[in-house]
């Protein structure tokens, strides 16, 4: 059914265009509300304050403080993806293989909440729990872990990574579970019947099958951690420059005139980095879907 060939399309381009007319509203909508804004940012990012073509915005963002912001954001994306992807994958695997349908459904919804709508509430939840007065800190202290014995604060790089884990791990569970689900029970049984140990199975079947999906999920997590705005904003981590926050400050107005279009070149920089991660992600997902169903 999925690859049904249209009897009408194909041969005649003229007819093909006629058939596309009902699709036009969606294309126009995307054009107006998505492509036009993106093209506008792109064009403006190459203009200086007197509206002349120039690369000045891009030379500006290659220097501090913007360079540092990019470095911070990329590091945050990588570190949070790295620390979330492995536990997330293991968790997804165990739930998917051993959990009942009910458990899977609840975990799925919970992951959905934390990964998609978490942002702001997540930040405040953490301020409450892991602030110096938080009861989580109190409980951890009771069992011998004193987070505040050193120089820990929630509003530091490590602090942000911990908060980010709370939407990154659930995100990993969401995107990686279908891959685990795709490993059919029969393959494992077949391997065992042919005399493979579980180590053999993992070396020759399990890991090669799951690795592309793992890599793809990692890329998605990187993009998500790199571009996240709400959580960082709500935590008001002013002491750590992150690209989305810097753009936010530029948009908020209280900026010198000589930086009018710097925000736009920062946005283009974000798009480029995000695309480097997301395009391979989408490509691998597309290929993996073939054997997952």
């Amino acid at each position: 059914m999925s690859k049904g060939v249209s009897r009408l399309g194909g041969t005649f381009t003229r007819y093909n265009l006629l058939v596309a007319i009902p699709v036009l509203p969606l294309i126009i909508y995307l054009g107006f509300f998505f492509f036009w804004p993106m093209v506008a940012v792109f064009i403006d990012s190459f203009k200086d304050n007197s509206h002349h073509w120039s690369l000045v915005n891009f030379t500006t963002i290659l220097n501090d403080p913007y360079r540092k912001a990019f470095k911070n954001s990329i590091t945050l994306g990588l570190v949070s993806a790295l620390t979330a992807s492995i536990p997330g994958a293991i968790f997804a695997y165990i739930i998917e293989i051993r959990g009942s349908e009910k458990i899977k459904k609840i975990i799925g919804s919970l992951s959905g909440v934390l990964a998609n709508t978490g942002g702001v509430p997540l930040a405040f939840m953490f301020i409450a729990a892991f602030g110096a007065q938080g009861s989580a800190i109190y409980i951890l202290k009771k069992i011998g872990i004193n987070l505040y014995s050193g120089s820990f604060t929630l509003f530091s790089f490590v602090g942000i990574v911990i908060v980010y884990l709370y939407f990154q791990i659930p995100l990993m569970v969401i995107v990686f579970s279908p891959a685990v689900h795709g490993i059919r029970r029969e393959w494992r049984d077949a391997a065992r019947n042919l005399g493979a140990t579980s180590l053999d199975f993992w070396k020759t079947i399990g890991l090669p099958l799951l690795f592309p999906s793992f890599a793809a999920s990692f890329l998605l997590l990187f993009a998500s951690g790199f571009a996240a705005y709400a959580t960082a904003r709500a935590m008001t981590v002013g002491n750590i420059a992150l690209v989305p926050l810097v753009i936010g400050t530029l948009v908020d107005g209280n900026v010198q005139v000589d930086q009018a279009n710097v925000g736009k070149s920062l946005a283009i920089g974000m798009v480029v980095i995000s695309a480097i991660a997301m395009i391979p992600y989408l490509y691998i997902q597309q290929r993996a879907r073939k054997w997952q169903h």
């Binding site: 509300f33 709508t117 989305p244 946005a267």
Partner: protein, 261 residues
Amino acid sequence: MATLKKNIILPITLIIGGIFAFLPFGSAAEFSFRSFSETGKLQHSLTSYRWIINQPELASHLFLSLKLALIAVLITLFLMVPTVAWLHLKAQTWRPLLEVLTILPLIIPVVALSIGAQAAFPDWLQSSEYELPLMYVILSMPFSFRILDTGMQAIPLKTITEAARGLGANWLKTIFFVIAPVIRGSVMGAFFLTFALSLGEFTLTSLLHWDTFPTWVTSVSQQNIIGAIALSIFSLTAAFALLLIISLFTSRARKLTKEAE
């Protein structure tokens, strides 16, 4: 021994996952009940929740967010259901292109899109709060398109349409009164997903300088942090309930899909 090991892995995983999820949540919930008595002693009460309910802005912001989310949902359904149906029925050759176009909003960081909206949109649009639902539709499009696409793949769309058309229904009637009810699982999935996404949207809303429920929570935190935490607990719980409903609908849709196959 082996079976014991097997039986113990799942509970241990669930316990670790439970601690991971509920230590901060429970701890924040406890925090949200804190208040200080007249003598300055720490106690637990509903003070913060009472404070929230007494905020005149609560109702107006909640109402605004619900209204904008509902508009986004309606635009999504009226735009996407006919288009996806048409792509399946008559314009299969255009489907791959639309698949690529609708996934693009997932690649572009929302921060960048917000900057773009600010740079491109005319003033009359930027001065209207309805620019938000128009943009929420874009943000949810990668998901809503795929949900509806999967739903349509699962049903004998051609037969149903031919039957409806043969009985004299026009295209609009066919799409809204015949096709949409048949794929109601997917339609509800797209509905709730767009709804949830719009309700919780913060980045675009705040960068375009609008004040909805999520952005209001952030401004509340500046005057009453415990109040903001109580609001967070409330919205996380509500979001969880909403998503549980979605999963109910989508799993029903999946069941229908399996039956159709």
